[in-house]
């Protein structure tokens, strides 16, 4: 269980060489000489297959369009990210880019691509493909989520508007070198942006117009990664086979199938009966039983997202009343909730940044803990003694057992303080629409984790940020976050994020109610299983059968 708070580092760049060594060793798959393979850590790689189960399918398996977790890890398998993240140090580690240089002003990144890289149809992967991929994301007709990432390149705005066809911030001096120039330095460039860059085969897609969900390529992707696409029956099944000619060595796990099982109970029973091999979405209430199952192993990994109760700061009674929000935080025992309903043995107190992130500051991020007496006095300070005059509704989406339980629980606890709380569940579309339009009092929805880089959370806290649902606005926070995003010295950034967390803990635009651990339930017949905070299936290629 990787729950340790990460050790601090001086500079991400200086770590690169150390990480390169550890990373390279960790990432190499089993050697591929065509002979029968045996993984070094035990177990065989012959005829290995794994059947995964989940309860909802992703929208896209095209890497420039994929936005949800299943989409991410499937595209990670079929394509090669430029860099990977080391699961322990969270530092960037070479993958497709075998080395990189960063200019002293922090704006120019020069990547050298590994010449061995080739696509699954045999063609070599060159800087042309990388360029094509980035330009696709800057195309005016692009409908995916990554445009803001690449908008940071010099001259990108003109391309996005359609007034330019070439990008000065992107240069390809030769087949294996690519140079990216940012208009502003950005500390998260490697760990956030380069991590998501998975080059598409330009020779298959050039001149075919902008890629959308319905393009043939999006239905049958071809990449350079360790797995080859086999089949995707939307809403039902996804299958991929090992790429025997993968340039870094064929993976040990030969075949991966993921079935969509909409009913959580059936999913659970299939794990218990053995019809499924693994799943990362076990229902929490099943955890005690699964933990006792002698055929299964339950891994618990630091979370990638937290559940949060977001306040609409444009509406009474929350507008301008931080004390009321603090009272509510103090009035609900979230620690007991996590123990009881999420079966977490040792819940950590709420925080805005995941405790697994290097930016996490346990002291500064002291969100008010459960203290009913304090809650009562805070209510008085807030101008609502005994909860008088406080009436609001918590909304969430139907079909999420955790959120449904949270609503009911919070409602009962706050009612003890005299607050009138009602709850409502709506269909996803209706719910999201209400949230994004600011049509709510309190919304139970998740917030990201700051893994691998805290800048990912900026959009939740800056004025008019895209995921700043409650319309929180604090110029001090805006300033600190902008500075932290541009700085390159990690110690300095950490100090800035600590100050942000201290302010957030006072302002409480949302209450991070629980960090929901990632679970991986898997049969004990699989070896080399090592789920990490960067993703439970991050090294699925190395799973063997024992």
């Amino acid at each position: 269980m990787t729950r340790d708070v990460q050790f601090t580092r001086r500079e991400a760049i200086s770590l690169f060489s150390l990480a390169a060594l550890t990373g390279a060793a960790g990432l190499a798959g089993c050697s591929s000489d065509g002979s029968s393979k045996t993984a070094t850590a035990g177990g065989s790689c012959t005829d290995t297959a794994i059947k995964l189960g989940t309860n909802g399918d992703c929208q896209n398996i095209n890497p420039i369009l994929a936005v949800d977790s299943d989409g991410y890890w499937r595209t990670d398998l079929m394509f090669d990210p430029m860099v990977l993240i080391d699961p322990k140090s969270l530092a960037p580690v070479p993958n497709l880019a075998k080395k990189w240089d960063i200019s002293t002003d922090g704006k120019t990144y020069t990547f050298t691509l590994d010449p061995r890289a080739k696509f699954q149809d045999g063609s070599p992967l060159t800087s042309r493909d990388v360029e094509f991929t980035i330009m696709s994301m800057l195309d005016p007709g692009y409908t995916g989520p990554f445009q803001t990432y690449w908008a940071r390149l010099e001259g990108a705005d003109a391309v996005i508007k359609g007034s330019a066809k070439t990008l000065p911030g992107l240069q390809t001096p030769d087949d294996h070198t690519i140079k990216m120039v940012l208009s502003q330095p950005y500390a998260g460039f490697l760990t956030v942006i380069a991590r998501q860059l998975k080059p598409l085969p330009a020779h298959l897609l050039e001149g075919k117009g902008p890629l959308t969900t319905s393009s043939p390529f999006s239905q049958r992707p071809v990449g350079s990664g360790q797995y080859q696409f086999k089949n995707w029956a939307r809403g039902n099944l996804f299958a991929a086979d090992a790429n025997a000619r993968y340039w870094q060595g064929a993976p040990c796990m030969k075949s991966i199938t993921q079935t969509i099982i909409p009913d959580m109970n059936t999913l659970n029973q299939a794990l218990v009966s053995g019809q499924l091999d693994a799943s990362i979405v076990p229902p929490p209430s099943a955890l005690p039983q699964l933990r006792q199952d002698s055929a299964l192993h339950v891994y618990e990994v630091a979370p990638q997202y937290a559940e949060g109760l977001w306040f609409n700061l444009q509406r009474a009674p929350f507008k301008g009343n931080a004390k009321l929000r603090q009272a509510i935080a103090a009035g609900v025992d979230f620690v007991a909730f996590q123990k009881q309903f999420m079966y977490i043995k040792d819940p950590t107190p709420s925080s805005f940044y995941s405790y697994a992130s290097w930016a996490y500051d346990a002291k500064a991020a002291a969100v008010p803990q459960y203290d009913p007496e304090r809650a009562k006095s805070l209510l008085v300070e807030a101008g609502h003694p005994g909860g008088q005059g406080v009436e609001f509704e918590i909304i969430t989406n139907a079909g999420n057992a955790y959120r449904a339980q949270e609503q009911t629980y919070v409602q009962a606890q706050l009612q003890k303080l005299g607050l009138k709380v009602s709850v409502k569940q709506s269909e996803w579309g209706d719910f999201i629409s209400s949230v994004t339009k600011g049509n709510f009092d309190v919304a139970a929805i998740s917030i990201g984790s700051a893994i691998p880089d805290p800048t990912a959370l900026d959009f939740a806290f800056v004025t008019n940020g895209a995921i700043n649902y409650g319309k929180y606005s604090n110029p001090e926070v805006d300033r600190l976050l902008a500075e932290a995003g541009a700085a390159t010295d990690q110690a300095k950034r950490k100090e800035l994020y600590s100050r942000v967390q201290a302010i957030l803990a006072q302002d409480l635009p949302l209450i991070p109610s629980a960090w929901y651990p990632n679970y991986l339930v898997i049969k004990k017949t699989f070896g080399n299983v090592d789920p990490a905070v960067i993703g439970p299936y991050w090294n699925i290629g190395k799973y063997s059968s024992i």
Binding site: M264, A286, T408, V423
Partner: protein, 293 residues
Amino acid sequence: MSEPVLAGPLVAESPPQVSARRRAVQRFVGNRLALVSAIYIGVLAVVAALATAIAPYDYAAQDITKALQPPRSGHLLGTDEFGRDVLSRMIAGSRVSLTVGVLSVLLVLLVGVTIGLVAGYLRRWDGPLMRVVDIFMSIPDFMLLLLLIALFGSGSWKIVIFIGLSAWMSTARLVRGQVLRLREMEFVMASECLGARPGRVMRKDLLRNVLDVIMVQATLSISLVILLESGLSYLGLGAQPPTPSWGNMLAEGRDFLSQAWWIATFPGLAIFCTVMAFNFVGDGIRDALDVRM
């Protein structure tokens, strides 16, 4: 059928009821299953009406320290994951299940019987009305209901209206079929000869004589609606928390089947028994009145 929406058997003959109600009641009482079921429903209705007055605990009162306790004294049916008393929730749930059942069916009857009467009696309306019925019946069972819920949200009251809007068709067909036969009969013709207007004929003569069919259809429909509501709750579209209904208690409890079987089992049994009771009563009425539908 998986989620049958009030599909009734074929329509056949039915002689006009003039007297013999007495005999019918006697026949019903002689049918032991139907009698027991009727008593059960009566008791249930009383429980549902009194609900909070007789429940041992507040159905929403949480106490995590007492969560997931098996049935024993103090909590006759155990507690759920929030520490709430299952028995009290069952009692409150009976209110929701019965209310939704009865009110939905009343709405269905209102719409269905009216349309059936008009279509059966007024020839000019027959064609178009039946075409409308056909359109609605061509939509797969659940789909219209799901469409309405997905668009307008769920909740007990809305469910009542949506079920009413999506399940009236077979009642309409049934009533129309009955009326088609009745309208050729002498007492109807006599009424017409006396100058009664269509509305009056429909109200006075026809309606009275389709009442038997309606009664049987109604009881059978209530059982189907209760099943429907529990199915919707299973999908998360029924009564919203913290209001308990047997259906959503079952849905919440299914995650705990292995550790706390009582949370889901008792509501499941309640649904099963109540639905069966209504079915037995409906059958009993049909046999007692010798209604051939």
